[in-house]
Amino acid sequence: MPKRTDISSILIIGAGPIVIGQACEFDYSGTQAVKALKEEGYRVILVNSNPATIMTDPDMAHRTYVEPITPEVVAKIIEKERPDALLPTMGGQTALNCALSLKKMGVLEKYNVEMIGATAEAIDKAEDRELFRNAMTKIGLDTPRSHHIKTLPQALEALTDIGLPAIIRPSFTMGGTGGGIAYNKAEFIEIIERGIDASPTNEVLVEESVLGWKEYEMEVVRDKADNCIIICSIENIDPMGVHTGDSITVAPALTLTDKEYQIMRDASLAVLREIGVETGGSNVQFAVNPENGRMIVIEMNPRVSRSSALASKATGFPIARVAAKLAVGYTLDEIDNDITGGATPASFEPSIDYVVTKIPRFAFEKFQGAEKTLTTSMKSVGEAMAIGSTFQESLQKALRSLETGLAGLDEIEIEGLGLGDDRNAIKAALGTPTPDRILQVAQAFRFGFAIQEVHDSCKIDPWFLEQIKDIIDTESKIREFGIPKTPEALRRLKSMGFSDQRMAMLTGGHEADVSKARRAMDIRPVYKRIDTCAAEFASPTAYMYSTYVAPFNGAPANEAQPSNRKKIAILGGGPNRIGQGIEFDYCCCHACFALGDAGFETIMINCNPETVSTDYDTSDRLYFEPLTVEDVVEILKLEQSNGELLGAIVQFGGQTPLKLAHALEQAGIPILGTSPDMIDLAEDRDRFKRLLDKLGLKQPQNGIAYSVEQSRIVLQELGLPLVVRPSYVLGGRAMEILRDEQAFDRYLLGTLPELVPNDIKARYPNDKTGQINTLLGKNPLLFDRYLTDAIEVDVDCVSDGKDVFIAGIMEHIEEAGIHSGDSACALPPHSLKPAMIAELERQTKELALALNVVGLMNVQYALKEDTIFVLEVNPRASRTVPFVAKVIGKPIAKIASRVMAGQSLASFALIAEPYDHIAVKEAVFPFARFPGVDVVLGPEMRSTGEVIGLDRSFGVAFAKSQLGSGTVVPKKGTVFVSVRDADKERIVPTMKMLSDLGFEIIATVGTLRYLEEHGVKGKAINKVLEGRPHIVDAIKNGGVQLVFNTTEGKQALADSRSLRRTALLHKVPYYTTLSGAIAAAEGIKAYMAGDLEVKALQDYFEGKSAQAS
């Protein structure tokens, strides 16, 4: 069946900003879909509000709308573009929900748009719990048994069927409030009563507990001829009870016999058929009782997903690409398997001859007050994947890929030890799923636990436990006997996945010495290809992983075959984390594209399965490997053995590759672009200060401290308030504004100890100060005088060392002191005078030339009363690069990478073209996932992603940025305002404007008094502490549509915290900075003035050179 010719244009909806549960895997799948459909000659229209995506590059889709993904806005795009079809399965839940709304609003019918890939009925059937359960019953598949009850007697009757433990879920409560797990009858009665009370409908679902059961996932693809294939099976090491996104998972499933596997396979296909997924990819999740194999269906997603991205990377089978082609009518046998170079069709099931391990990465440290326990609600912000020949190799590679400081199964403290009942303390730790549980399992074995005991506590399958125990047993042998002196004995250890660093830790030696000894014995990794077929067919695709294997007829069989070309390696950013995410992957991809176009062979090294950079066709050669010195040096040494390796680009992937720069240089790998020494200079307070002095530039008064004692001296010198941060961190980890001495002490003795890596802890047991001083000795604390109420500005530029091109000057909406990643910003600046802009450009150029920047550079400035202070200089790609590139219509990351490869900047003939649009970038936060965490912004970055609002006026652009980030922009209703004294004067005009627009104003007594004194009318409302009814009651009752709340001081912050949390949970827009509130009001005014217009990115640059390369 050939492709459809009755449709010619297709709208793809993206996933919007990066949030927990919906990250850059949807850029990966969306990009594949756009490319696949373009290849087939369709006109592709794309909407996605996330500017950091590859899919929204202007040369990807024919028409790109970086507009908010709301049904109203997408309806306008449909009205304008009149697509024949809508593909809703590439943009996660966001796209599915939006498509469903468009269908319900009648938009699709009105404009005759056909939904392809999934029908509204199928989406409904998969998403609605009741419909889904009925569908499963119909095809004879089990789901967890459950009963809806309204009274205690009904509940007790239900219990006789369900049994204990039982899950209790009150209906219609936010975030599972009032529910729980009952392990005994008394507890059951208690939770039922509480649940009935908590539910607005007094209804509770009593559900069978499958906690501790084994969890599996099947990735399925189906075409319209009903050909179904399984791409990959995935087994969760963490049993049921932990969200699959938060679980450590392996592929393929490792503890199923063929009979059980085939039952699951058949069930998966039956689920797709019954739900009605006609074409495309889906995943089906199962729970299996380890005692008797009983299998139940948990859920299915009728779309590509995080796990389909993982499955694609794990097998080499591009699910999204294939799904897009199936959606336009192809059948699987008509599509080539790219990986085998088209030698085989896509209608087969990948066979893999290695083990893949995925470990999630968390950011609990950024959310004070959040519980570290993992539940069925996802909390991880990224993940690392590793591939090894065996589970052990794969696991240990995955652990070091995480970049959380682990070299393997590093030792970890278990809470509660030494209190007299160590065994039970360990059991308790194992029984609670947390990000560190895998390490605690290992630790338990170090304490002599047996496999069965550990299994009893954590329910992890004994197969995995035996493997982990074997690693720990072997570690103790390494401790006892040191590193083996003979080659095969050492190779055995390396094939278990032990890194040189871990072996050095175990023997008290240095990693470099272990590596040297290993190479002296010629024990080196070889590289195997991920080929979808377990070597049955030769694969021309260089998608590879390292492994240590036994020699094959003389020497270990290496499939890397480095070419004789001129090549450049691009080092990726590793797992996503707050502060280092998709923006850096965007830059890495652009480097691949641009350098490939320029005729170089591109080599990508990365370990993040969600990204576009780890798509096998982004670079010429892809090494899916941990970004550690050992792993990267081995690859690049091998690549140097043939052809010419010009060097490595380490400045595009965030801090991850930067940290490797020195070691790579020492290993003889040239670093392209700005020299690592200059990068160091920018990070080194003393050297940087001298440079600024030389250039006559100012910076806030500052100091540096290499010890706790020195910190106190700096405090004396600078005075308060101060901004403090540890050197060499991204995303403002542990960055704080210290306003009083208590805060200062809390920082030194409370925050810093959390940052101490395990190896330092091990060296100075029970000596906190010693530990901290050791840390600071290498990574000193940096103190800056905090500039109150200053405007912060970000500048991005490209330089080749001779010329500098200022790409963008971004004015932050929030004042200096809010992390730049968490602050909204406007490009071009909306309130700066031309003379100030010119001066910022001049200073930036001076800095770039002085640092001899070759490539990208980002500078952060603070402007206070017309004085410019340099806050920091980052001679590398910054988070704002993709945003700037999209807004100015110039691919600056591509240009920068060509410059790094030796091309002159002048050859690009870049001119700063004026443009008449303005863009606002807004951050999105995961606060709703972390109960108990305050949402007030600060110097520590906590946003997971960003959206763009693009329009001709600042107000509309800001409104779009709010809509895009999921915020409701109210057009009427009540505004609650409560601001600190310093903000009272400046909030007046804003409140007056809102009042004039028809908003009612309620305020706390102090704020109201000030407003009324200045002619703004409003009503008083109690603070929470002032008694009920108070503001939180009002929000809960739906009586507040907008919240402006600025606070300072520990007590005031604590007092108003519940107000902000309540606003968050009830989706009432809230602004916690004055400038944010002012911008929001402007946005509301613009939004009310008329309908939002939509405009394709391509139209902003009509007649201009949008593509400079």
Binding site: A225, N227, I229, L254, T255, L256, T257, D258, K259, E260, Q262, I263, P290, E291, N292, G293, M295, L332, D333, T344, P345, S347, F348, E349, S351, I352, D353, V355, S389, T390, F391, H455, D461, P462, W463, E466, Q467, K477, E480, F481, P484, K485, T486, P487, A489, R492, K528, C533, A534, A535, E536, F537, A538, V549, A550, P551, F552, N553, A557, E559
Partner: protein, 409 residues
């Protein structure tokens, strides 16, 4: 939960002794006819095996594979690294009679055998190999070996074990190079039953284990070239009363059993060699319009009986992920494959049409006669291990027994 005792170490050779690290000594060698020598650790029985080395890319079902009589005379290399992960059990055996059947000669795996982890496991894989007298070698880069087979074809080999690591490598090389080729070998006598047997076991389910025969409406004679149990069970599921007869059974002997249909089973070896005695019987079946269904070697036998030719393949098909297209429905089925010989499409007579084809390499995977009720497939619709997409072929056979009409399109 099954968790084997500590009797089995994860490391066939300990990593250390009292004094320190042990430099491992090869306790098993796999010596190929072309002189390639691979060293590893001995697993399973302490004996020597000879045979043709083939690879299998299935990720599950090693027990079924190792008990599939079609693998007689072969040493199986598993591309999936963790073999033995779910142990072994009594239910997943595919050989009809373990006592008479030869099955696989040896096993080559990558990772050391782990303790089994599966609720149905009853025996550690290593003990199972020992009890079956199958030697094996672990610690082999089976991917490299697979690539070697892909590039150079399936080679004969000797798998030798030695607890003290002492081998006469040259002698092994000579031995390997002198092994008879699979070409022209009739291996059926080493796996098939020598006398008749009635079969009544039906398919396995999670809840009830194996089922039993229902009405037994159809009487099927299964000619045993090395039949797999799951074929017999799928027939039993469909109300077929199955009588297994030896491969050497004559047409008259079969006719005397009053069959509603005859099933030609899978089996090992060169079809041409087996054909010398079974082709006349099959020709007679066709002539007498007895509904006939063949699988694998049975497929090749049917082809030979209608005058087509078979040929040895370069690397063969061995896996559970192969796509096959059914031309009668235009649907793609994912199937289990295990064959080293194929039917030469160009040699098919006019009254035999090609019904199935491999989408991997375009080789023939099925034929049906246009004028007689007989059809056959090269792949393994009974799966076990592998996907069960092709179970419909058993329905086709039953339908054919009902209406006795040709099934060709």
């Amino acid at each position: 939960m099954q968790q084997a005792s500590s009797a089995h170490s994860l490391h066939p050779q300990p990593l250390t002794d009292a004094t320190g690290w042990i430099e491992p000594v090869p306790t098993a060698l796999l010596v190929l006819a072309d002189g390639t020598v691979l060293s590893g650790h001995a697993i399973g029985a302490e004996t020597t095996a000879t045979g043709e080395v083939c690879f299998n890319t299935a990720m599950t079902g090693y027990e079924e594979i190792l008990t599939d009589p079609s693998y007689a005379g072969q040493i199986i290399t598993f591309t999936f690294p963790h073999i033995g992960n779910v142990g072994t059990n009594e239910e997943d055996i595919e050989t009809v009679d373990m006592a008479v059947s030869d099955g696989a000669k040896g096993v080559v795996i990558h990772a050391d055998i782990t303790s089994p982890s599966n609720w149905r496991a009853v025996k550690h894989f290593d003990s199972w190999l020992k009890s079956r007298n199958i030697p094996g070698i672990s610690g082999i880069d089976t991917r490299a070996l697979t690539a070697h087979i892909r590039d150079h074809g399936m080679a004969n080999a000797v798998l030798a074990t030695s607890a003290d690591g002492v081998f006469d490598v040259e002698a092994l090389k000579t031995k390997a190079s002198q092994l008879p080729s699979m070409d022209g070998l009739d291996l059926v006598p080493s796996v098939g039953l020598t006398k008749g047997l009635d079969w009544t076991e039906a398919s396995w389910s999670l809840e009830n284990g194996y089922g039993t025969l229902g009405s037994g409406h159809h009487h099927v004679i299964a000619v045993d070239f090395g039949v797999k149990r799951n074929i017999l069970r799928l027939l039993t599921d469909r109300d077929c009363r199955v009588t297994i007869v030896p491969a050497t059974a004559s047409f008259d002997e079969i006719k005397a059993l009053k069959p509603d249909g005859v099933f030609l089973s899978n089996g090992p070896g060169d079809p041409a060699a087996t054909g010398t005695y079974s082709v006349p019987m099959i020709k007679a079946l066709i002539e007498h319009d007895i509904p006939t269904f063949g699988i694998c070697l049975g497929h090749q036998m049917l082809a030979l009986a209608v005058g087509a030719k078979t040929m040895k393949m370069h690397q063969g098909h061995h896996g559970a992920n192969h796509p096959v297209k059914d031309f009668t429905t235009n649907k793609v089925e994912i199937v289990s494959m295990n064959h080293g010989f194929a039917v030469d499409r160009d040699s098919l007579p006019k009254n035999a049409v090609e019904t199935h084809v491999s989408l991997f390499d375009g080789t023939n995977c099925g034929i049906a006669l246009t004028d007689k009720p007989a059809f056959s497939v090269q792949h393994h619709p009974e799966a076990s291990p592998g996907p069960r997409d092709s179970h419909y072929l058993f329905d086709r056979f039953v339908a054919m027994m009902k209406d006795k009409k040709p099934r060709a399109a």
